[in-house]
Symmetry: C2
Amino acid sequence: MTISALQKARAQYQPKLPKSLKGAVKLVDGAATESVADQEEIKKLFPNTYGMPIVTLEEGSDAIEFPAMNVGVILSGGQAPGGHNVISGIFDGIKQLNAGSKLFGFLGGPGGLVDHKYIEITAEYLEGYRNTGGFDIIGSGRTKLEEEAQFDKGLEILKELDIKALVIIGGDDSNTNACVLAEYYAAKDAGVQVIGCPKTIDGDLKNEMIETSFGFDTAVKVYSELIGNIQRDANSAKKYWHFIKLMGRSASHIGLEAALQTQPNITLISEEVAEKKQTLEQIVDYMAGIVAKRAANGDNFGVALIPEGLIEFVPEMKKLIAELNDLLAEGSDIEKEFKMMKKGHRLEWLATQLTPESAAVFKSLPSGIANQLTLDRDPHGNVQVSLIETEKLLGEMVKTRLAEMKEKGEFNGKFGTQYHFFGYEGRCAAPSNFDADYCYSLGYTASVLIGSGKTGYMSSVRNTTAAADEWIAGGVPVTMMMNMEKRHGHMKPVIQKALVELDGAPYKYLVANRDQWAVETCYLYPGPIQYWGPTEVCDRTTVTLQLEQEGK
Amino acid sequence: MTISALQKARAQYQPKLPKSLKGAVKLVDGAATESVADQEEIKKLFPNTYGMPIVTLEEGSDAIEFPAMNVGVILSGGQAPGGHNVISGIFDGIKQLNAGSKLFGFLGGPGGLVDHKYIEITAEYLEGYRNTGGFDIIGSGRTKLEEEAQFDKGLEILKELDIKALVIIGGDDSNTNACVLAEYYAAKDAGVQVIGCPKTIDGDLKNEMIETSFGFDTAVKVYSELIGNIQRDANSAKKYWHFIKLMGRSASHIGLEAALQTQPNITLISEEVAEKKQTLEQIVDYMAGIVAKRAANGDNFGVALIPEGLIEFVPEMKKLIAELNDLLAEGSDIEKEFKMMKKGHRLEWLATQLTPESAAVFKSLPSGIANQLTLDRDPHGNVQVSLIETEKLLGEMVKTRLAEMKEKGEFNGKFGTQYHFFGYEGRCAAPSNFDADYCYSLGYTASVLIGSGKTGYMSSVRNTTAAADEWIAGGVPVTMMMNMEKRHGHMKPVIQKALVELDGAPYKYLVANRDQWAVETCYLYPGPIQYWGPTEVCDRTTVTLQLEQEGK
C-alpha cells in the first residue's frame, strides 16, 4: 500500500497518555451516582447498571495479573477523526493487561454484531491505521441496536468468539443503546461487559463528566482552516459575501467554535433562533443589516456561518413544514388536487390552504425553495428539510431585502455571493494531536475498565485543557447522563443531548464580540492543523473547551 | 490586531534563499534570446526589449555600492498564496542593496497605478504580512494595463514618487502587459524599469525557464488535503460518489496534480477531452463505466475530479453554445419568438432551430441545465458557461446512464452523489514552505534585476526540485516566452499559455495508473500542509514539478 509522506511520518507518532495510565493502574471508586433527571424511572429500567459509582484511574503501585481476554469493538454512526486511535488504545491496553488478549472488530457498524461479520484486529493490521482519520479499519454503520432479538443474535457470536467485553464507539444514541445492551447482558448474566466511548464531530455529547466528544476538535479545525482561507480571500478580493453552511443538524457547536476560531462577520446559532423564537424575516433582517453597515464603510464583502440544521429551529418554519406534511400527505384530497393543478398555479393555491401565518412565510420564500418544500418528500411522506440549501435560501432572501433597502436609500453597495458547505471535508481528517491523544487515552481507559470488570460505563478523560500528563482518566456510569425523553411517540431513557447553552461561556463570548466582528474586519486565520512545531500551535484545544473549563 | 497561534509562530519563519542570493551577487549574461515563435513580428513590436540575454545570478566576490532607489509593486488578478512573500523579498532585497531604498505598493491592482492610489510599504507594515496568504497587503484587481493613456497616467505618479522600477506580480496576461509597459517606457526613455513575477494557482504560466508559477503548490495541496479527507470518508461510509469540481478555467493542471497527490477513481482532463474530441456522452459513458465496475466489486462509492472549465473543452458543447449565442442574440426574431413561447414548449422548439448535432446534444442535457443555457446570459448576450454546475450536470447524466445500464443488467449497484467545488478554499491559504521560499526568492531576485538596471525581464528561480540552497536565480526576457495569438479578433503578442501536455510526464503518469485507481481503491491521504516536521513532509514540491524535472 502506497501512503503519503505525512501518513508515513505520522505513523511514528506515539499518542500521549495521562500519567495515571503509563504504569500500573489503580481503580478508585467515587460515590454512587444518580441520573440527571427522572431518577425513579431510570432506576427501574436499569436495575443492574443504575447508581454505580464514578470511577477514577490513578497510578498504582503493583502491576496486577490479568487473564487474557477477548474484546470486541464497534464503530457506530457518522465518521469522526480519531476512531482508529480509540481502537489502538483499546488494543495496546488489553495487550498490556495480558499479551494473550485479542481484539475483534465488528464490520460496518452495529449491524456487524447482529450479522456476525467481524475480523480479528492484529498488531500488524492495526499498524497502518494508527493516527489516521476515517473509520475504514472496520467500517461504520447506522443500524440501531435496540431490539432484544439483536442483542441475542449478537450474544451468539460474542460467545462463539469468547468475547468478554464489547466497546461501542458512538454518539449519544449509540451510547444510550450501549447501556441498554449492558443492562440486558447483565440481567441475563451473559458474561459480556459493555463500555461506551463518546464520539461525534457535532460536539453534542458532553456533560459534567464528558468534557468533549472526540473528533470535534479536528473537524472544526479543518472547517476553521477553510473559513480562514476564505476570509483572507474575501478581504483580498473585496467583492463577495461567502455564505458558509456547516455540518451539524441538531446543535450549533461546530458553527460556534468555528466562529471563535475565525471571527467572521455573521454567525447564526440555531439554539438562539429557537430560544428567541426568531422568524426567517428577522434573521434575514439581521444579516441584511450587517451587509448594509459594512457596505456603508466601503466593505462589500464578508463571511457568514450558517448551521446546517437552522431551518428546523425557526419556529414558523417548523410550523409551516408540519402543515405541509399534513396537507400533502399521500393520498389526501389536497394532495390529489395539488398534483392535478398546473405548475404555474400550484404554489399560490397551496398558500390558501395554509394557516394565515404559514401562508405568509410560504409566500416569502424564493419560489425554488417553496417548490422544493412541496415536491421532494422522504419515504414517510415528510418534507426533506436536509435537502433545503439553507445557505442559498438565506442568500436569496438577503438579496431581496437589500434591493428593498436600496430603494429606501438604506443600502448603497453591491452584494455578490459565493456558497459553501463543509462537512465531509472534516469528518475523516487525520486526528489533531489533541484528538490523537484523547482518543488513544479513551481507548486505553476502556481497556482498564474492562480489565476491572466494569459494564455500563462510558470511558471518560477529563481535565483536557491541561497537558495530557495531567488528564484524569476514569469511567462514568452511562445511566448518570440519562433522562426520559419522548422519541417516536414513546418515553425513552436517553442521554441528554448537549445543545449550545445560551448562558455558557462560549456563546457569551460570541455575543460580547459579534457586533464588532460584524462591522469591522477582525478575521483570524487559524491555518491548517499542525502535527509538529510549537506546542501552542500543535496541541491547542478548541476555544469552546478552554472557555467552558475556565468557567468552572 | 489579534492573530492566530499559527500566524504568530509562522511570522518568525525566515524563508530560504538560493546560495547565490545570500551574499554579494554577480550577474552573468547568457546568450541572446529569441521568442518561442513569430520572431520577426515580436522583434518588430519590442525593438527595445527583444533578444536580450537570459541572466543568471551567481555568488559575487565584492559587494557593489548601489544608490538608494524607489520601487513600486502591483498585485494583478486572482489571489495566489505567496504574494506577500514576493513583496517581502523585494523589500528585503532593495534594502540590502541600499538601506535608503523605498517600496511603494499600488492599491487594488493595476488600477492603483492609473488612479494614483498607493501606500509606502514600511518595515513595520510589512511585518504582519510575512509568510501569510492573501493579497490584502495592497489588494489586487483585474484592470488590464493595455492602453498608452494608462501608461502615461501611471508614469505621472511614478515620476512624482521618483520610482525607478515597477514589479508586476501576475499571470500570463499581466506579464505580457508588463513587457508591453517595459517596452513603452524604454522607447520613451522614461527611466522606469518593469519586472514581472510569475503568479497563478492555475499553473498555466510555465515554460523552459519558469518551472512553476507561485501559489500552485499551496493551492493544490489544500485541495488535495480536502480530496484526501473526502476519499477517506467515502471509503469509510461506503455510500457516496463525491463529484469534486476544481477551480481552473483554461488548464487542468490543478486537477492533474490533485489526482497525482490523492489517486482518485476518476480524473477528467480538459486538454484530453479537447484533443480526443470527446463528446459529453463519451465522458458520461466513461464515468458510468467506472461506477458500474466498482459496483460489481461491491464498492458503491468513489471520487471523481472535474476541472471547472471542462464544458468549454468539449467540442460539441462549444458548438452548441456558439449556436445558442447566435440564435438567441438579443433582439433576434428567434429570441423574440422564444420569449413569447410558453415555458413548457420552449426547449423543444428551440431544439428544432439548432443543427441536428447540436439539437441532439441539447436534448441530452438535464432540463435544468438546458434552461440555464437559454436564460442566463452575460452583458454581451453570451451564455455564461461559468454558471453551469458541471459537477451536477455530469452527476445527473451519469445517473441517467446508470439507470439505462441497470435495465440491461450492466449495472447492479447504488449511486448516491455528493457535490463539492473547491477554489476559494485554496487561493489565499498561507503559503507552504515551498511557496514561502520560492516567492521570497522571486522577489529578492527581482530586486537584484532592478539594481542591475534590467527591464522587460521576468524574475526566474529554477532547479526548484533541489534544496533551496541550490536553486538558480536569474531573469528571463519576457519576449522570449511570446508568440502571436488571436485575441478579441486581433493578432497580439502574448506569453504562450501552458496547457497540460499530453506527452508530458505528469499526464502520462496519470494515464499509466488511472485504470487501476478507477477500480481499486488506491486513495492517498496527503493531509494538511505542514510547516514544521520532517523535511520530506514540509518541503515536498508538487508531483507535477518532480515528474517534469525528472523528465528533463
